[in-house]
C-alpha cells in the first residue's frame, strides 16, 4: 500500500459507540468536558499542565476503548507538532542562551538559535499534540448525530451542513485512497500533485452534488425545526457535567492565582511548587473522576451492582475535587504566598 492511501485510510476514524462514559453521556455534556480540557490547554503554557492534559486524554481514551484510534490520530498529527517545534527556533530570535550563532539559511539569512527558543518550540509542539489528542478523543466519543440534533432545533441548514461535513470525511478519504491507488497503477510518468489535487477537488464537488440531490429527495428544503422528545439526565450526564465544570473552575481559579506560570523569554522559567502540584493533581483527578464509572458492555448494558458502587466512588472523588478547588481558591486569595521557581535554563546567560 502506498503512503497516500495509507494516510487516507488512517484518517477514516470517527465516532465509536463503545460504551465509555463519554459515549454514554449526552453529546452536549461531553462537549462541555472537552471544552474544559481545551480551556486548560489555552490558559496554561506550563508544559507540566499540557502533559497532564495529554495523560488525562489517553487514560480517558483507554476507558472509552478508543486508545488505538486516538494514538493513530496523534501519530498522524505528530509531524505538525514537530514542525511547530522546529520552526520556532528559526522564527524566534529571542532568548539569552545562544546555542548556534550566525547560522546562515537560504531566504532567512543569518540567525541565532537560542536554547529558550528551542525549549519554547518543544513546549508549543507538546501543547499542539495535547490539543490534537483532545480533538481525536472528541471525534471518537461524541456522537455527531446527537450534537447536530441539538443544533437542528435552532438552525436546520447549518446543522445538516455540519453533519454532511462530518459524514463525508471518511467518504472523501476513501475517494482519495482510490485515486492514490489508481495513480500508482499508471505506467510511465505519474501525474503531478497539482493534477491529482485538482482531480480530488473535482471528485469532492461531484460528491457534494450527489449529496445535494439526496437531501432534496429527503425534504431538506422544507427546513422544519426538529421536534424531539425530552430525555431526562442520567447519572453519567451529571458526573461528566460536574467534572467539566470543576475542571473549568480550577483552571480559571489557578490562572487567576498565578499558579503554574510560565515565562518563555528571555529565560525559560516554569513554576513548580506545592501549589502547582495541587493544581495539577486537582485537574487530573477532577477530569478523570467520571471514568471511575463503569464502561458499558458493547451491547450497552451496565452491571447494576458495579455501576452503583463506582458511581458512589465517582461522586466521592468529585466531592474531593471540589474541596481541592476550594483549596485552590484560597491559594488564589493568598497571592503573596511564595512559590518555588524552577529555572529550566541550566546554562549561563549569553
Amino acid at each position: 500500500m502506498n503512503a497516500a492511501a495509507g494516510i487516507a485510510r488512517a484518517l477514516t476514524f470517527g465516532y465509536r459507540p463503545r460504551g465509555g462514559v463519554l459515549q454514554r453521556a449526552r453529546a452536549t455534556t461531553s462537549c462541555g468536558w472537552f471544552a474544559a480540557l481545551g480551556l486548560v490547554i489555552v490558559l496554561y503554557e506550563n508544559p507540566l499542565v499540557s502533559a497532564v492534559v495529554l495523560g488525562v486524554t489517553l487514560i480517558a481514551a483507554v476507558r472509552c476503548r478508543v486508545l488505538r484510534e486516538v494514538l493513530l490520530a496523534v501519530a498522524v498529527s505528530a509531524p505538525l507538532a514537530v514542525l511547530v517545534a522546529l520552526i520556532n527556533p528559526i522564527a524566534s530570535q529571542q532568548g539569552l542562551t545562544v546555542l548556534v550563532a550566525d547560522l546562515r539559511l537560504p531566504l532567512v539569512g543569518s540567525i541565532e538559535i537560542t536554547r529558550e527558543a528551542v525549549v519554547y518550540g518543544l513546549i508549543l509542539g507538546l501543547r499542539a499534540l495535547a490539543m490534537f489528542a483532545v480533538c481525536a478523543l472528541y471525534v471518537c466519543t461524541v456522537d455527531p448525530d446527537q450534537l447536530l440534533r441539538v443544533l437542528r432545533r435552532r438552525s436546520v441548514r447549518s446543522a445538516i451542513t455540519a453533519s454532511l461535513a462530518v459524514r463525508f470525511v471518511p467518504v472523501l478519504a476513501r475517494d482519495g485512497a482510490r485515486l492514490a491507488e489508481a495513480r500508482s497503477c499508471r505506467p510511465g510518468i505519474k501525474p503531478g500533485a497539482a493534477a491529482v489535487s485538482r482531480a480530488v477537488f473535482a471528485r469532492s464537488l461531484d460528491r457534494a452534488g450527489d449529496a445535494a440531490l439526496a437531501l432534496e429527495t429527503r425534504g431538506y428544503a422544507l427546513a422544519v425545526p426538529l421536534r424531539e422528545a425530552h430525555r431526562p439526565r442520567r447519572r453519567v450526564d451529571w458526573a461528566v457535567s460536574a467534572s467539566a465544570m470543576l475542571v473549568a473552575v480550577i483552571a480559571i481559579v489557578g490562572k487567576s492565582a498565578g499558579l503554574a506560570s510560565f515565562s518563555d523569554y528571555p529565560l525559560t522559567q516554569a513554576d513548580l511548587g506545592p501549589w502547582e502540584i495541587v493544581l495539577i493533581l486537582a485537574l487530573g483527578v477532577t477530569a478523570l473522576a467520571p471514568f471511575t464509572l463503569p464502561t458499558a458492555r458493547l451491547d450497552g448494558s451496565v452491571s447494576a451492582a458495579s455501576a452503583s458502587a463506582t458511581e458512589v466512588s465517582a461522586a466521592s472523588v468529585l466531592t474531593t475535587s471540589a474541596s481541592v478547588t476550594s483549596v485552590s481558591a484560597s491559594a488564589a486569595c493568598n497571592v503573596a504566598a511564595p512559590s518555588a521557581s524552577t529555572d529550566l535554563s541550566t546554562g549561563g546567560a549569553a
Partner: protein, 548 residues
C-alpha cells in the same frame, strides 16, 4: 379507478447546459397507477434517469433546464411543487448509497425525512420501527452508517425513502454498486413493498431478469422518447424483433429468441418449460466455442503465485492463504467468489500494490491493473494528457484528444482508463469488477475491447461477480472462498453447475453450454438431429417452433 401516482402528458424536458447530464425527455405521455410495478429500460443517456428524477421533482427544480407539457405526482403539478413538497409522495433511491446517507446512525437516517416533514417524535419512532421491521433491518437501527456494507447502506436508503409511506417509489439503478447477493436482497425488498403496501414502484435496473417477473409494465426509452410501454411478454417480443434492441433481452429470452422459441419466457420457470421438449427429444450437442484467448501449454508463464498468503496489517486472520496459481500468455481467466473472498487482494498482490505476507508473486513482464471505477484514473483536463496517441488510437479515442475526460460517456471513460493502463503493452492485464453498473450493451462493448488483437498475447484476469460476462469472456475460472482457491478449472465446468451456473447452463444442464448463443446452437443441432431421425422413421417432428 384512483388517480395515477405519476402522470405525464406530452412532457418534454431538456437539461440546461451541454455539460449537464445526458438524456432529456421528448414528448412523453404515460400514467403510473397506484400499486403498479414498472420497469424502465434503455441505454445510458436514453432518459430513464430523467423520468425518475421528474417523479421526485428533481427535474426541473434541482437541475434547472426547460420543461414543457403536463406532469403531476399524486395530483401535484410538477411546475409548482418541488422535491421537498413531493418527498411525502415519492420516495427516491439513487445509485450510490455512499452519497445518499446524511446521518451517522441508521435510526436517525431513517427518521431524517420524517423529521423534515415535521412529524411528531412519537410518530417518527413508530414509523422507523415499522419500516425497519418491514425491510428486516431492525438489527441495524443502532449501527453506525459508516460501518455498514454497500448492500446494508442501500437498504437503509430504501427504508428512508419509504418510511413516510409514499405512494410512489422511484429507484434509479439502485443495485448498480452492489454485489449480486445484496442486489437480490434489495430488489426483493422493493418487490415486497410493492405487493404488501400497494406502493407503485418505478425502477430503472440493468439486471432485468431479476425484476421482469414482478413487473406489470416495461417502459423503454431511446434518445428521450418512450418507444415501448408494454407488459413484460410483449416487451420481450418487441425487443427480440430488432437485433439492435436484443441486448435488452434477459439471457433466457435471448436463448429462446435465438432458437426461435415463442412466446419468449418472462422468467426461469417459463424458459425451463419451453425447453422441456428438447430434453425429452434428441440429445443436445455442444458447438465449438469462439476460441478467443485459448491458452496452450506452450505459452510462457506470465504471472505466478507460489504458496502466497496475505494478511491485512492489524487484522487477525489471512485475507489470502496458500495461493498457487500460474497464468500463461494469452490466457483469459475469470476470478470469482463472494465479497471478501480475496479477489481484489489477489489482483493488488499481482500488481505489486501490496506485498505478500508469505510466499511469492512473480511476473515476467509488466502488469496493468484497471480498478473498479475508471474515473479514478482520470486526472488531467485533456484526454490527450492521459495517454499517448497510440494508446488512444487503439481504443478509438483519438478524436476526443482535446476534450475533458469528465465529459466523456461511461463507456468512453472506461476505454480511456484501459488506454491508460495498457499504454505500455503489459504482459498481464488485471480488471477488478469492470462490469459493475453496466448495461448489457456496454458489457458487449467491453468484451469487444478485450478481444482486440492487440491483447492477444496478453494474459487477462477479470475479477467479477457477473457469471454471464465471465462465461462470454473466460476459458478458465478460479473461484476463491475465504482466501483460498476453492475451484480452478475450465469455464464450461465451473460455470455449468452450482451457484455460479449461468442462466443458460441452468436451463440446459449437463451439456456444457454457458451462453445463449451456444445454447441456441445446441438446440438447433438437436432439432436438426430430431428431424433427421424423424425423416428416417417417417414420423412428424415434435419440436414445433424450433427452426434449423
Amino acid at each position: 379507478m384512483s388517480d395515477p401516482v405519476l402522470r405525464l402528458d406530452r412532457f418534454s424536458y431538456r437539461y440546461p447546459t451541454e455539460g449537464g447530464p445526458a438524456g432529456g425527455l421528448k414528448n412523453v405521455s404515460l400514467a403510473i397507477e397506484p400499486g403498479e410495478f414498472v420497469l424502465v429500460c434503455g441505454a445510458s443517456g436514453s432518459g430513464k434517469s430523467t423520468l425518475l428524477r421528474a417523479a421526485g421533482g428533481l427535474v426541473p427544480h434541482h437541475f434547472g433546464g426547460t420543461a414543457a407539457g403536463e406532469a403531476t405526482v399524486c395530483g401535484r403539478d410538477l411546475r409548482t411543487h418541488g422535491p421537498a413538497e413531493l418527498a411525502a409522495y415519492c420516495g427516491t433511491v439513487l445509485q450510490d448509497p455512499e452519497t445518499q446517507i446524511v446521518m451517522g446512525e441508521v435510526r436517525y437516517e431513517i427518521a431524517f425525512p420524517l423529521e423534515n416533514l415535521g412529524w411528531a417524535p412519537s410518530d417518527v419512532d413508530r414509523a422507523v420501527d415499522r419500516t425497519a421491521d418491514a425491510l428486516g433491518i431492525r438489527h441495524l437501527l443502532r449501527r453506525r452508517t459508516a460501518e455498514l456494507s454497500g448492500g446494508e447502506l442501500q437498504r437503509v436508503v430504501l427504508a428512508a425513502a419509504i418510511a413516510a409511506g409514499p405512494a410512489l417509489l422511484a429507484l434509479d439503478e439502485p443495485t448498480s454498486q452492489l454485489d449480486p447477493v445484496a442486489a437480490g436482497d434489495l430488489l426483493a425488498a422493493a418487490i415486497t413493498q410493492n405487493r404488501d403496501h400497494d406502493t407503485a414502484v418505478l425502477i430503472a435496473e440493468h439486471r432485468i431478469e431479476r425484476v421482469l417477473p414482478a413487473a406489470d409494465r416495461v417502459l423503454v426509452f431511446e434518445r428521450g422518447e418512450l418507444v415501448c410501454d408494454a407488459p413484460p411478454r410483449e416487451f420481450l417480443g418487441w425487443a427480440a424483433a430488432t437485433e439492435s434492441r436484443a441486448w435488452l433481452l434477459t439471457p433466457s429470452a435471448r436463448l429462446c429468441s435465438l432458437a426461435n422459441i415463442t412466446p419468449l419466457p418472462v422468467d426461469h420457470a417459463e424458459a425451463a418449460n419451453s425447453l422441456s421438449l428438447i430434453s425429452e427429444g434428441s440429445p443436445l450437442s455442444v458447438t465449438a466455442s469462439s476460441g478467443i484467448g485459448e491458452a496452450t501449454g506452450a505459452n510462457a508463464v506470465e504471472l505466478e503465485f507460489r504458496d502466497t498468503a496475505y494478511s491485512f496489517p492489524g487484522c487477525d486472520g489471512s485475507a489470502l492463504t496458500g495461493i498457487d496459481l500460474s497464468l500463461r500468455a494469452g490466457e483469459r481467466l475469470a476470478l470469482m467468489g463472494a465479497n471478501g473472498s480475496g479477489k481484489s487482494t489477489l489482483l493488488r498482490l499481482a500488481r505489486g500494490l501490496i506485498k505478500p505476507s508469505d510466499g511469492t508473486v512473480e511476473a515476467s513482464g509488466s502488469v496493468g491493473l484497471l480498478l473498479q471505477n475508471p474515473n479514478d484514473y482520470l486526472i488531467h483536463e485533456r484526454v490527450a494528457d492521459e495517454a499517448p496517441v497510440g494508446a488512444l488510437t487503439r481504443y478509438g479515442l483519438e478524436s476526443y484528444a482535446d476534450r475533458d475526460p469528465r465529459d466523456l460517456s461511461g463507456g468512453e471513460r472506461q476505454r480511456l482508463a484501459l488506454a491508460i493502463v495498457t499504454q505500455e503493452n503489459p504482459s498481464v492485464l488485471l480488471l477488478d469488477e469492470p462490469t459493475r453498473g453496466m448495461d448489457r450493451r456496454r458489457k458487449s462493448e467491453l468484451l469487444e475491447l478485450l478481444r482486440a488483437p492487440s491483447l492477444n498475447d496478453c494474459a487477462v484476469v477479470l475479477a467479477t461477480h457477473d457469471v454471464e460476462f465471465a462465461a462470454e469472456f473466460a476459458r478458465r475460472v478460479v473461484v476463491l472462498e475465504d482466501g483460498r482457491v476453492a475451484a480452478d478449472g475450465p469455464a464450461v465446468e465451473v460455470l455449468a453447475t452450482g451457484p455460479l451456473a449461468t442462466e443458460t447452463a441452468r436451463l440446459m444442464p449437463g451439456i456444457g453450454v454457458l451462453t445463449p448463443a451456444h445454447g441456441a446452437a445446441a438446440l438447433a443441432d438437436a432439432a436438426a438431429s430430431a428431424q433427421a431421425t424423424a425423416r428416417r422413421m417417417r414420423r412428424p417432428v415434435a419440436l414445433s417452433g424450433i427452426s434449423t
